[in-house]
């Protein structure tokens, strides 16, 4: 037995090593490359970023440039950041307001139709995001069904795709709400029905049972659900670009993506990516720990 145990680990190590090398070369190194470019220099001739791999030689010129863009007198990145926060916050809140009743209904009242509702709620997961945006572009176009319906009510055609904040937030909600609903459903479905019965037996009505029993128990799913919608929204540039494309509705994702293809600005794109990563690191780690704890408690 002891001889076996001594040889066993080597076998399992050999299984894990390919994946570890892959993650090292194609995940850790790339993230470090962003840091090396953010702290690197600019090749003045080629206008190409030069990665500086040793922390001893790092230059702060890109960071200073980005700092000026955000807080300087001619700041153009500052409003973009503020807009990103506002759009994301409103969209996440609307997602929650629409998503919670849906998840709550399926978890508590769907009965034997639960399977049907789940299929319909999961369906958007399997429909390409671009297809879903394409569908709304058709509907929101000047001659599309939305404007036809509005015209029927006597409201003139609105150029929805001409750079409106409302359209962008609408697109974000539409795009990411299925993820929130599934997380909420998984959480609400796990609430012990006997707790609700207890609330009722103690004389609480429907509303007060909800406020005093269900809502406190759904705090964790709500947090995780908001996280799972906010994380991708903050890195989203395509929803915005497809439904608006205007500079006055652009978000941090658009800023980064734009700098990526622009000679001379790629270093600043790297700094902004790192900034975003830094802000999101705490919620990311929280999410990993929360889902681990949840898996352990099952």
């Amino acid at each position: 037995m002891t001889a076996k145990k001594a040889t066993a680990p080597r076998f399992w190590i050999a299984l894990a090593v390919p994946g570890m090398i892959w993650l090292l070369v194609l995940f850790i190194v790339p993230v470090y490359a962003v840091l090396a470019i953010a702290m690197g220099k600019l090749d003045q001739m080629l206008e190409a970023p030069v990665a500086v791999w040793s922390p001893l030689d790092w230059s702060s010129s890109n960071v200073i440039d980005v700092w000026r863009d955000i807080f300087g007198s001619a700041s153009f990145a500052g409003p973009i950041l503020a807009r990103t926060i506002a759009y994301t916050a409103i969209a996440a809140l609307v997602c929650l307001l629409i998503g919670y009743p849906c998840a709550y209904f399926v978890a508590r009242f769907a009965g034997r139709r639960k399977g049907l509702f789940l299929v319909l709620l999961i369906a958007p997961f399997w429909i390409s995001y671009m297809m879903r945006m394409l569908a709304w572009i058709d509907l929101l176009a000047t001659g599309g069904y939305v404007n036809k319906a509005l015209g029927w009510l006597g409201i003139g055609p609105v150029n929805w795709l001409g750079g409106h904040s409302v359209t962008v937030v609408f697109g974000l909600v539409y795009g990411y709400i299925p993820y929130l609903i599934m997380v909420l459903f998984a959480g609400l479905d796990r609430i012990d029905g006997s707790l609700l019965e207890a609330g009722r037996d103690l004389g609480l009505g429907r509303v007060r049972t909800f406020i005093h029993v269900t809502l406190p128990l759904s705090r964790q799913p709500i947090l995780t659900g908001l996280l799972i919608t906010v994380l991708p929204m903050l890195g989203d540039y395509y929803t915005n670009q497809m439904l608006s494309g205007a500079a006055h509705t652009s978000m941090i994702g658009n800023l980064i993506q734009g700098q990526l293809g622009t000679p001379g600005l790629e270093g600043q794109g790297a700094v902004l990516s790192l900034l975003l990563l830094l802000v999101l690191l705490i919620p990311m780690v929280y999410y990993v720990i929360a889902t681990n704890r949840e898996a352990a408690s099952r």
Binding site: A16, M20, L23, G115, M130, E197, Y238
Partner: protein, 315 residues
């Protein structure tokens, strides 16, 4: 995860305060004492209409015999293959996009699934600081926003690994890294619920490590591996950010990127609806195959709802 009765047909009531017989309890699943919430029911149907009707309309207009997206002009396959210049079949760019999406999905699944499964198996036994660190790194790769991941891939292929040019190879390398966490997480979860007893029994009966894996572990893990393959495959079909940042020319641009680049500004035309519908059909086929395959592999041991949530990555 979801409580289903052994028959897998009706969800068993969690608990019933009223003293009802088990037969009656099964007949009235999860009966609310306050009556049915019709307002919520109406609300969710409105949500579902808002969520899915636009897709149905987009698919409908992909078989419209005209350019309009809002006036029906009769049924036609012209945007799929009849039209000799603009159909998906005859437009070289759209045609190439379909095959590129299939190519990326197959290659990524073939690499990411074995890599992730081996990783999960290895880390399940190997304890210590180094494996724990890599497990955490793998989880970070799962939650990192795709834009930041895409940016890091873009930089590493344009400044460090410059022999990997932007294009199919870069796309596959990026997609494998992005998707390897699916099989790793799902198999790790399955290993945790299985425990060690099956392998120990096999080892006591004289099986060596390879035999334990091939004859005991892999069959037990088959549903989990299969579910993760379905997730990776359909995930690559729908992927956008990574392939958008790592593609370089029309020859290596998949469908999602084509829809994005031609549509914004609203001048795509119905051939794009056809392309989107093809993507939808591909995902649908994968999902149905996945559902049926998962139920076969798990030999009905788990209910339909479990199969559904497993191939949606929620299991």
């Amino acid at each position: 995860m979801t409580a289903t009765s052994s028959a897998g047909t009706s969800p068993a009531p969690a608990t019933t305060a009223d003293p009802v017989s088990p037969v009656k309890a099964r007949r009235l699943p999860r009966r609310s004492p306050w009556g049915h919430p019709w307002f919520l029911e109406g609300f969710i149907w409105l949500y579902l209409l808002w969520s899915l009707a636009p897709i149905a309309i987009a698919v409908l207009f992909s078989v419209n015999n005209g350019r309009s997206q809002s006036a029906w002009q009769g049924f036609s396959w012209r945007w799929y293959f009849t039209d000799h210049t603009n159909s998906v079949l005859h437009n070289p760019q759209l045609h190439a996009a379909v095959s590129q999406t299939v190519r990326l999905s197959v290659l990524t699944t073939l690499i990411a699934v074995p890599l992730g499964v081996a990783f999960a198996l290895g880390l399940n036994r190997w304890r210590g600081g180094l494996p724990a660190t890599f497990n955490f790194v793998m989880l970070l790769s799962y939650v990192i926003p795709e834009l930041i991941f895409g940016v890091s891939m873009f930089f590493v292929f344009t400044t460090l690994f410059t022999s990997v040019h932007l294009g199919t190879l870069a796309e596959v390398l990026g997609l494998v890294t992005w998707n390897v966490s699916w099989p790793a997480i799902i198999v790790a979860a399955r290993l945790a619920t299985l425990g060690r007893q099956y392998e120990e029994a096999a080892a006591d009966l004289g099986a060596n490590q390879f035999q334990v894996i091939r004859r005991v572990l892999l069959p037990l893990l088959a549903p989990a591996i299969f579910a993760s393959a379905v997730l990776v495959f359909s995930g690559v079909i729908d992927d956008f950010v990574i392939v958008d940042l790592l593609s370089s020319s029309a020859g290596n641009t998949p469908m999602s990127v084509i829809i994005y680049t031609t549509q914004h500004g609203g001048n795509g035309g119905p051939a794009l609806n056809a392309l989107g519908s093809i993507m939808l059909a591909m995902s649908l086929v994968i999902v149905i195959l996945g559902y049926v395959g998962y139920r076969l592999l798990s030999r009905g041991e788990r209910g339909g709802l479990d199969a559904l949530t497993a191939i949606a990555g929620e299991g």
